[in-house]
């Protein structure tokens, strides 16, 4: 770990000033300190934003404003989240460990970097870590890698769970920055690698996440299915978030998002359109999977994610539509 200067900001404005001067924000540190120890991140200046007061959950009209510093644990334990947006609580609780959730924050988790083993190993070529060095994962051990949204330069996934639920819930990321406040729909927040895989998201230099806003509760059936090797404390191989409503035996409304399948939390309206207005049947689920995976490309070790995603989608829709009927 390289030496750094650590400052403490006591307000969002102070944090923004520090960021403007080139500092990197640190909140829970569960990802950043991990990366710094391996010198995969080498900030010269850190600004702690822990005391900026952005740790409240508050009503915002019918919606909910979750401060960027609300810990994952507090978010999942919050009564309003659990009642109105259970999908979010479920996704958070499926991630990491209780200790990590107590420390990790809402804003930090959105910025979590990939778990690609080649990104995490400075002896290996990685365009995300070191632009232009190549991608050792494409022809390497890529079991956990993406099959959607990849590029010649990078096939790494965004590994988290929370953002997948937020994507299905039409969340909006609230930021402040040198050019003023922005409201970034979660669907626009993460960047596919393209030819610039080092940038995971659309945050500009000096920009700070202040909150995530959830729109009004849908009252739908919400299921988060995380498929992984271990029963707990493991990253997803594939995860599926669904929020749907049934009317007269048909799927009336449906939002779907997928984790660890694409390079970013994945949502495809065309998949939802296949389902909406239809009676839930295995054939329909298969049709939806076909649309979802039509452009999917495996890289060897991760080929299985394509059939797995179809199966996980079927299981999730089966469960949600059965529950919805009841």
């Amino acid at each position: 770990m390289k030496p750094f200067v650590l400052d403490h900001a006591d307000s969002p404005d102070a944090a923004l000033a520090a960021l403007d001067a080139g500092a990197t924000a640190i909140a829970g540190g569960t990802n950043l300190v991990d990366l710094m120890k391996l010198e995969l991140a080498t900030p010269e200046k850190l600004v702690s934003i822990r005391r900026t007061g952005l740790d409240e959950i508050s009503a915002d009209g019918d919606g909910l404003m979750i401060g960027a510093l609300v810990s994952n644990a507090d978010c999942a334990a919050h009564r309003r989240v659990r009642e109105g947006w259970p999908l979010l609580a479920k996704a958070i609780l499926a991630g990491a460990s209780p200790q990590l959730r107590n420390r990790a924050t809402t804003g930090g988790n959105l910025c979590q970097r990939t778990r690609c083993g080649y990104f995490y190993d400075s002896t290996q070529a990685c365009n995300k870590r070191e632009p232009g060095s190549g991608c050792a994962a494409r022809e390497g051990f890529n079991r956990i890698h993406a099959v959607l949204g990849t590029s010649d330069q990078c096939i790494a996934t965004y590994p988290g769970d929370m953002a997948v639920a937020m994507l299905a819930l039409d969340a909006v990321v609230m930021t402040e920055g040198p050019y003023g406040p922005r409201r970034i729909p979660l669907a626009m927040f993460h960047r596919m690698p393209g030819d610039e895989p080092s940038r995971d998201n659309v945050l500009e230099a000096g920009e700070l996440i202040t909150a995530v806003r959830l729109p009004a509760p849908t009252g739908g059936v919400q299921v988060y299915r995380k498929v992984r090797d271990r029963a707990s404390y493991a990253f997803a191989l594939v995860s599926v978030a669904v929020d749907l409503a049934m009317e007269e035996g048909r799927i009336a409304r449906c939002a779907l998002a997928f984790g660890s399948l694409g390079t970013v939390p994945w949502r495809d309206r065309a998949v939802e359109n296949v389902l909406i207005g239809e009676k839930p049947t295995p054939a329909l689920f298969a049709q939806a999977a076909e649309v979802l995976l039509k452009d999917a490309q495996g890289f060897g070790e991760n080929d299985f994610k394509i059939p797995l995603a179809a199966r996980a989608l079927a299981a999730t829709l089966h469960e949600a539509t059965q529950t919805g009927k009841a």
Partner: protein, 178 residues
């Protein structure tokens, strides 16, 4: 550079934070304060051996910089009970053989203590039937909630038995909402 006067409260005493901003909470506890009961198993938040309780919540001390804890209240295994005066959880771990090599044990015990508090506050888990409801007690709930603490000796069954015994003893009707 003059030693920092910033402090954190560790096991009831204010202690000066380390000079090197790179020092993690874990290394500060172990190296500067001599509190080696908190273990370093992976240094990357992947095993839970370094679990301590900060402001009532369990965290991985290896993934936090000491300087981020100014003014925080930190409890380590040393504050839970001593070899001569073990806390109920510690006694139960001994009685149920909830450890073998003992290296993950302080982390398991700190984690269990904070987990019991989380449960008492009605937090749900990934295996809770209804995330909006107050969770029902079950062994599967305990297993899920303790899954951030690895034990390579494989003492899991005994660890869970020890925690269950303590929770059963401490369970009181009407405790809900605590």
């Amino acid at each position: 550079m003059a030693a920092t006067t910033l402090t954190a409260r560790v096991n009831g005493a204010d202690r000066p934070l380390p000079a090197d901003a790179r020092r993690t909470l874990l290394d500060w506890l172990r190296e500067d304060l001599g509190l080696t009961g908190t273990k370093k198993g992976c240094d990357h938040g992947q095993c839970g051996a370094c679990t301590v309780i900060v402001d009532g919540r369990r965290i991985n001390s290896c993934l936090s910089l000491a300087h981020l804890h100014e003014g925080d209240t930190i409890e380590t295994i040393e504050s839970i009970g001593t070899a001569d005066a073990l806390a109920p959880l510690q006694k139960a771990f001994v009685a149920h053989d909830g450890f073998q090599c003992g290296y993950c044990t302080p982390g398991q015990i700190c984690s269990a203590k904070a987990m019991m508090q989380e449960f008492a506050e009605g937090w749900a888990s990934a295996v809770s039937e209804d995330v909006a409801a107050r969770p029902e007690f079950s062994t599967d709930e305990l297993r899920e909630r303790m899954s951030g603490n690895l034990c390579r000796c494989g003492a899991y069954s005994n660890i869970i038995a020890a925690i269950e015994e303590v929770m059963a003893t401490q369970a009181q009707p009407g405790r809900a909402g605590a």
